[in-house]
């Protein structure tokens, strides 16, 4: 299990291969990558603020719960903070399991909890100004299915 909260960019392919090489014969690997959308060319950058200390604590708890609930061989969470450009990866989740159902469910669970329970706040910067991204009610509602 690996968690990285980092400012530096990361490479999806490199991280996917590193994760997949570490687990031997797990059968099923799921990755989710969140990318900064350009909103039709309007977005200049995204700034992500976080709460150092609590971020790592909250994500570790979410990962431990995933490992307890599903039959997983391994799990990975990478989440960036700082200034990101359109098209750059924001974060990534990966899960490995003997069976695809567990890998998919755990990845979706991690995403749903990261969205609403990990202390990150996104600000979108465009030519028109800077706006904090509002939380989606659908993201909070997504938690009720677990």
């Amino acid at each position: 299990m690996r968690l990285s909260v980092q400012e530096a960019a990361f490479d999806l392919g490199q991280e996917a291969n590193r994760f997949s090489n570490d687990i031997k014969g797990a059968g099923a690997i799921v990755t989710f990558t969140g990318v900064v959308r350009d909103n039709g060319g309007q977005l200049t950058a995204m700034e992500i603020e976080h709460y150092p200390g609590m971020t790592e604590k909250a994500i570790s708890e979410i990962m431990e719960e995933a490992v307890a609930r599903w039959d997983l061989a391994d799990a990975l969470v990478i989440h960036r903070y700082g200034v990101l450009r359109a098209g750059e990866p924001i974060m990534m989740v990966a899960t490995a399991a003997p069976h695809r159902g567990d890998a998919f469910a755990a990845a979706e669970f991690l995403m749903d909890y990261l969205k609403s329970r990990a202390p990150f706040w996104k600000k979108e910067i465009s030519a028109a100004g800077a706006d904090w991204v509002a939380a989606q009610e659908s993201d909070e509602a997504a938690l009720t299915r677990w």
Binding site: E49, M54, K57, L114, K115, A118, P119, F120, E140
Partner: protein, 82 residues
Amino acid sequence: MIEVLYFAWLRERIGTNRERVATEAATVADLVAELEARSDGHALAFADKTSLRVALDQELANFAAPLAGVREVAFFPPMTGG
């Protein structure tokens, strides 16, 4: 003394990311009432309580939670990670 942290637009409205507060507040709600009185920025930041979240020593909590033994209180809007 309690360390109070602010994030995102709370931080911007209040104009600082942290302050040390001498308080006898029993609960989060009591502390919020004291903080609101500190400045117009504080009052604005805490105006809409439905859009506020609080963490006590880095664990999510609610506004009725007691502050006994707590060293760090953080206020922030709903999280938007992922």
